[in-house]
Each structure stands twice: as C-alpha cells, then as structure tokens.
C-alpha cells in the first residue's frame, strides 16, 4: 500500500481521473441543458459514437485535431437537430426515440469505420497544453495544468453552463419550460424553440465528448464509448440537474476508476478480485450522488412532451 502513497503515483492517479472524467463531463453537461427544459435524450451514447468516429476520421485523413473536433461538433449538432425534431416537433416517446438514436449511432459508427477505415490506425492526439508558470508548481502543476486543451475546455464549460442556466434570460426560460411549460407558454415563451435549443446544445456537447475521447485516445474501435453516454445520463440525475453536480459526479467516477486501476497495477487489488473492484466506480458514484441528490427535485416536466391546449 505504501507504493500507492508516493507523490508520483498519487499525482498520476489524479491526472488519470481527470482524463477519464472529461468525456463524461461534456456529455452530461449537454444532457443537463436538455433535461432542465424537460427533454430526456437517451441517445447520448449514439451521438458520442458518431462524433467520435467523425472526429477520428477527420484527423486520420488530415492530421488536424482541431478539424476533428469541429467535425465532432457538426455531427453532434446535426444529430441534436434530429433528436429535437423527434422529441419536440413529433412529440415521440422520449425513452424509445432516444434508444433509436443510440442504436443508429452504434450501428452507423461501426459500419462507417469498417467501410472507410477497417483495421484500427492510430491518429495524432490533442497536444498537451502546459499553462505557463502554473504547470511548474509541484504536484498541483502536473495535476491541474498539464493536460490537453479539451480538458481545460470541459472544465471551463461548467461555469459557462452555470451562468447560462442561472443568470441569463435564456436560462430562466429553460428552467421555466422544464418546470411548467404551460405557464411559460402563456407568458409568451416558445416552448418548442427553447427545447430545440437545449436538445441541440446537448447533441453538440455529446459530439464533442465523442470526438475528444477518440482524439485523446488516438484510436477508434467498435463501440469506443463503451456506454459512457448512459453513465453521463445517470450523472445528470445524480448531479441534481446542476452543472457543478454533474462535474463532481464525473470527477468522482473518473477518480474512483483511476484509483482502482492504480491499485490493480500495484497488485494491492489482486487479479482474482479485479472484477469486484471493477464495480466500485459505479457503486460509489451512485451512493455518493444519491445521498446528495435526494435533496433536489427533477424538473417537473421532464420526459413530458408539450402540446399547446392538451
């Protein structure tokens, strides 16, 4: 156990936890917008997979990681529009239509990968961005200021999300539409316009989550996300529909995963107990967040399609 409590190992473990949290954070922040306006999108993982493939393929062909990220954004945005048409305009059952989007993303990303690439080929990864001076601080520097740029973007998105939801008219309308769409509608707020906007934001951030995952790993493989999109949806519930809550949930999940991996690496968790340890991130995150989330209520109109006069 003493091997674990060395500065180098602790810092490496924490940095690993931060990296593992990033795709979850992007995806769950996006889903928070949708859910705050009353729309549950279960298709996040499918959008992530297509964003991941789009980003991967763009980098494979051009070597430009920023173009890859842009393609992830565009793919996510387009699928956000599709999701919004289905759940807002057509008022489809949100659970079922989300699963449809997920299956579409799972199948289509693999099909495109098989047809356009075939055997996995490595791509250029995001460069590391060491923040001048701050990255030189012992321990803290390596932990917080020596990451790829998407890591900073993900954590910057948290205060931006908080500001939008809590301090802007748009955010107030999102909350109003999520709590009481009839009242919002009677005050002249377009419920469908707000929900379109939030679902598209959700899709875009899911696309970014996927692209950042693929480009940070430098590879694509069938079902690359391994259901991270579903974990992100759960984190929104357990993070009490608040950007800070989902950030803490993402970090907790990432950290527990990283700690378990490190304990396995050092044989503190022996291989024959590895499968029990693998459950720890999910169990600890759920327990911790359930305790916190009990004090908060879900948006009242969540999962309910809105139709004027019904």
């Amino acid at each position: 156990m003493s091997d674990f409590f060395t500065t180098a190992v602790l810092v490496a473990t924490a940095a690993s936890g931060v990296r593992l949290a990033v795709p979850l954070l992007f995806a769950s922040l996006g889903e928070t917008f949708g859910q705050r306006s009353g729309v549950l999108n279960l298709g996040v993982d499918g959008v992530m997979l297509l964003g991941a493939f789009g980003g991967y393929y763009a980098v494979l062909k051009t070597g430009n990681v920023w173009l890859g990220l842009l393609i992830g954004i565009v793919v996510g945005l387009l699928l956000g529009v599709v999701s919004a048409v289905i759940s807002v305009t057509l008022r489809a059952e949100q659970g079922i239509s989300g699963i449809g989007i997920y299956l579409f993303g799972l199948g289509m990303s693999d099909l495109l990968f098989q047809k356009l690439v075939g055997t996995p080929l490595p791509i250029t990864k995001f460069p590391k961005l060491n923040i001048p001076r701050l990255s030189d601080i012992p321990v803290i520097g390596e932990l917080l200021f020596q990451h790829s740029i998407v890591v900073y973007l993900a954590f910057l998105a948290v205060p931006v999300g908080m500001y939008i939801i809590n301090k802007t008219t748009f955010g107030m309308n999102i909350r109003a539409v999520g709590e009481n769409p009839e009242a919002a509608d009677s005050l002249g707020v377009s419920v469908s316009r707000i929900r379109y906007a939030t679902v598209i934001i959700g899709g875009t951030l899911a696309g970014v989550a996927g692209a950042s995952l693929a480009i940070d790993l430098g590879i694509f493989q069938q079902n690359l996300t391994n259901a991270q999109g579903f974990i992100a949806i759960a984190l929104v519930y357990f993070g009490a529909w608040r950007p800070v809550g989902v950030m803490l949930g993402s970090l907790l999940y990432g950290f527990v995963n990283a700690i378990v991996l490190q304990l396995k690496t050092l044989a503190i968790i022996p291989p024959d107990q590895s499968n029990f340890a693998a459950m720890a991130p999910a169990i600890i995150t759920i327990l911790a967040l359930v305790i916190v989330a009990r004090r908060f209520k879900a948006p009242a109109a969540l999962t309910k399609p809105y139709s004027r006069g019904e």
Partner: protein, 363 residues
C-alpha cells in the same frame, strides 16, 4: 354537434400524431437494424475473399458444378480488430485459398451472447457445413443448439470442452508459449526492470497469455517487477489506455497486452517510447516504432484437421490446440525495429526449449 366535431377532430389529430410517432420510431429501428445487418456481415479488409449475405447465393450458383464447403464464423468483435476475431477470419481465408471451393460467411461484433446464439442457429439452419463459434462465452449457447443439428459440425474456442457432443469440436491456443518467449525478450530489453501487462478479464486465453508472459520475464530476470492489470472489459479502450498510463507512471518501459481493447494501451506505449509485444495478430501496423514482435495465431493449423475429420465422416467430439510446435503459433518480428541479435537469440532459444519440452511455461 359542434362539440362532437371538436372531439372527433382532436381524436383525429391525436391519431395522426401517434401514427407519425410510430412511423419515426419504426424508421429509426429499420435504419438501426439495417446498419446492424450490413455490419454483421462485413469481414476483414480482403473483400474479395469473403461474401456478404446477399452475395452468398450468387457465389453458390457460380460454383454450382461442385458443392462448396460452407463455413460460417460467429465472433465477438470486428473482423479486423488486429486481435481475437481477426485471427480466426484470417485463418479461414487461408483455408479458403488452399481449398478453393469454400463459401465463407461471417457475423462479427456479437458482444451480446444472445445475438451470437441467434446467428449460430441461423447458420446451422441454413445448412452450413461448419459453424465456428469463436468465443468461450458462446459455449452455453452451443451446448443447447448443437444437439438440434446433428448433421452440422460446430467448432468453438477458445476452450477444451466438447460437452460430450459428437458434432462439436473444441480448439484453443497455448498462448502462454508465445507469451513466455516474448516475456524473455521483454525482460532482456527492459532497462527499468519494470514490465507492464494489460489484460481484459482473468480467464481463458487472456489469463494463459498474461501468466506465460510473466513467467518468461521472471525466467530471464527474477528481480524484474511485473505489473499486471486486468481492466475487466474486452471493449473499454479508455480504461486500457489509463491502465497503460498507470504502468508507465510506475516505471514500465516494456509492455504487452491481450484482447481487442489493447489498442488504447498501444497508443500510450507509442507516445512514451515504451516497447510493445503483441498477441493474437501482428500489431506492428499500430505502432511500427515500438512494436518488437507479435505472437500470431494460425488457426488454419487446427481448421485443416477439423475439416479433414468432417470430410472423413467425424463431425466432432475432438479437441485441438495450436502451439509453437505445430506451427499454429508463430512469433513475427517487426522488421522495422532494431532488435539486438542476442535478444532475438534468447527468444529463439526459448522457442526451441518449449518445442523440445526443456522449458515449461508454468501454466
């Protein structure tokens, strides 16, 4: 009256909305299903050597003069995963080029055992001569399905159990042997004397390989530290990547790993200049700068025997194994890596020792 009309109209609108929803959901389901179908019949890069479901009929007609030997593969990951599934698809393609008149169908990507079971049954039902269920997780399904099709031969692996069924062959790889050889070379190349191995789940082929590699390292250098990390997932590329980062943080300068998720670990090794040993397929293309060698499976060695048995009237009931001695396992070196001659010689000596029985891998 007017009220009635209003009710009717509202009812009509509601019905219209429901119909629209239904159409959207069905359309999405169809698209998803279509993706799945195409996906499951795609095969390794060499399109000309394989057939999709739609082409199967045409292939059969053109070869009508002699009935082709029909082989179907059901496997968990992609046909070109540079790992487990690719090893069997490549092997059947070798058999196909040797025998000529072989019709091959592949259903890959069946991580879900129920999907694999449905595919196995469908192939058996369509009169395929040999259905290969390439995944130890498919054993339970095969045990149920095989007795329903006594005229069809099944092969499954990696496993040693034929369930006492006369139409089931079992096959496995002595993956510990190649693992041992590469472990010896890895220990000789390591300067930090810390070596990392990333595995999926501690069972079957993966456990054999990891244990063999570890035994090889310790045989060469008893003081070396071997870090073993099972991620408990065959598909979580991100976890494999982080496992490799954890091993690197603990000083590993030589690594290996098994199963399809290790591509995540290979890119980490490549970034950090850590040497890599691959298994199941030649992984040089993933990182030509750091891959030293790969243990490559040649399942065609056992498939030849299995097909010969079937043609001689024995539909199953036997167990086969590939290893270094029978040529089913081959260590392929990366020509682009400058491997010191003395280290290569250590590897060749280990191969010779395993073949003649003077070295045991401990597994």
């Amino acid at each position: 009256m007017n009220q009635d009309h209003a009710v009717h109209d509202e009812g009509g609108t509601l019905k219209k909305h429901r119909l629209t929803k239904l159409i959207v959901v069905l359309a999405l389901a169809l698209v998803a299903a279509a993706c799945g179908d195409v996906d499951t019949t795609t095969t390794a890069g060499e399109a000309e050597t394989t057939t999709t479901a739609g082409e199967a009929e045409a292939t059969t007609t053109t070869a009508a003069e002699a009935e082709p030997f029909r082989i179907a593969i059901v496997a968990p990951s992609a046909s070109n995963d540079l790992a487990f599934t690719q090893s069997i698809v490549d092997a059947v393609n070798v058999i196909k080029s040797e025998m000529g008149n072989v019709d091959l169908q592949v259903t890959d990507g069946t991580f879900v055992v129920e999907d694999a079971a449905a595919a196995i049954r469908a192939y058996a039902d369509s009169g395929v001569d040999l259905v290969i269920a390439h995944g130890s997780q498919y054993g339970g399904s095969l045990q149920e399905i095989a007795p329903d099709f006594p005229d069809t031969s099944f092969a499954w692996g990696t496993a040693a159990d034929t369930f006492g069924l006369s139409n089931v062959f079992a096959y496995e790889a002595a993956s510990d042997e190649g693992g041992y050889v590469m472990g010896v070379m890895g220990a000789a190349l390591s300067e930090s004397n810390v070596i990392g191995i990333v595995g999926p789940v501690e069972v079957g082929d993966a456990k054999l390989y990891v244990d063999g590699f570890k035994a090889g390292v310790l045989a060469q250098n008893p003081d070396a530290e071997v870090l073993v990390n099972y991620t408990d997932s065959f598909s979580d590329v991100a976890l494999a990547s982080e496992a490799a980062q954890a091993q690197a943080a603990n000083g590993a300068d030589v690594m290996s790993g098994t199963a399809q998720m290790v591509v995540g670990a290979v890119t980490v090794a490549s970034d950090q200049g850590i040497l890599w040993f691959g298994t199941q397929a030649n992984q040089t293309s993933l990182a030509p700068n750091i891959v030293v060698a790969s243990q490559v499976y040649h399942w065609e060695v056992v498939l030849r025997d299995i097909i010969a048995k079937i043609e001689a009237g024995t539909p199953g009931g036997e167990y086969f194994k590939i290893d270094l001695a029978n040529g089913g396992e081959v260590i392929e070196y990366n020509d682009g890596f400058d491997l010191p001659a003395d280290v290569r010689q250590l590897g060749e000596d280990a191969i010779a020792g395993i073949k003649d029985g003077s070295i045991t891998t401990g597994s």
